[in-house]
Symmetry: C2
């Protein structure tokens, strides 16, 4: 009852085939690096002909740019969906961090593209990833601002303080995500827990043995 | 009484002239980027002939690699010198952070090379800067470990926790240093203060209006 090979590939909708090409490209770029990855390899992994890959996107550069955009959009969507705005500030942060680390653990190739590949191959790729980063920093600045307003009416945190704290938090998350993906046995939950304790409790409390707890 | 031009350049010791070439190279690479920077420009800024630059270092790639190493060594030395081991844990962290942000503010071109240029131009530069980063993470892990042992005999912080916290702290510092250098009017002291509060107090205390104080 299985579909005949030729029929199946004919019937596959364009959107599905494009998605498979992009999946193959993300995997290949993420694991082999931008320069080492070849269009042949990507076409073979996607199970399509090389001309079809070129028909879909004109060049390796365009394909890589499309990969950066897709992975950036997916990461931002995951973090936004994670941070539930009706939660208390600490629970909201925890939910956002858990979403971020789960996403980067489940999509290590996508994260490698955003965090490493896109930055190590100059323009126009570095600018693409910088745009995504600015969007995440703005989102986190908004979260910190909302949390500060919730906690005390007259906020002692100036706008610039919040921007600085958001930069610190985003930098810490980037660094830990790379570390977690490269360190054997460090789970997404563990990495999220480390950052939650660092960011919410601070080293001062951690040194005293205090830990953040969801309850 | 000022030295005659020709005499002056003849008498200049080799070490001084090499340092001037490196200073010119760091400034040019840091401000213009690795690709856009030309050996002509570097030679002109250093006040030497282009053949002399090539005599000192064989290629633009070698010169850039030498810049990365020099700036990495200087940054590590500054942080090590800042973190005075006899201080209490929080004062030690504050001293290390102040040293780091002062160094990156005073040497914005060196920091641009390490944080941006070296990473956006692939290998062998990315590996050079990764080595430096590993050294800083190991140093910070040691600081956190010493502080934890100081605070309570039976440390609740496992080795992997400390490595994760060090990754978070280093990532936050990298992110904030870039932000401080690019944001008008953010001083090194302010950036160090933001990170000290984030890292030591945590967002939980900051939301309540608590701040870290050296006293």
């Amino acid at each position: 009852m299985g579909p005949v090979k030729g029929v199946r590939s004919k019937r596959m909708p364009r959107a599905v085939r494009e998605r498979q090409m992009m999946d193959a490209a993300v995997r290949t770029f993420g694991q082999r690096g931008y320069r080492a990855a070849s269009m042949d390899e990507i076409a073979e992994l996607a199970g399509v002909s090389k001309p079809l890959v070129y028909l879909y996107l004109n060049s390796k550069e365009e394909l890589f740019t499309a990969c950066i955009r897709r992975e950036a959009d997916a990461l931002i969507a995951a973090v936004r969906a994670g941070a539930e705005p009706r939660l208390a500030a600490d629970r909201q942060l925890w939910a956002g961090l858990a979403a971020f680390f789960t996403h980067t653990a489940v999509n290590p190739d996508g994260w490698a593209i955003l965090h490493r590949q896109a930055r190590t191959h100059g323009e126009p790729f570095a600018a693409e990833v910088a745009t995504m980063r600015d969007e995440i920093v703005a989102f986190v600045t908004g979260l910190i601002g909302a949390a500060a307003r919730e906690t005390h009416r007259e906020s002692e945190l100036a706008a610039r303080d919040m921007a600085g704290l958001a930069q610190a938090l985003v930098g810490a998350a980037e660094s830990l995500a790379g570390w977690a993906n490269e360190t054997e046995g460090v789970s997404a939950k563990e990495a999220a827990g480390t950052l939650m304790n660092f960011a919410w409790m601070g080293l001062g409390d951690l040194m005293k043995g205090a830990r953040w707890s969801a309850r």
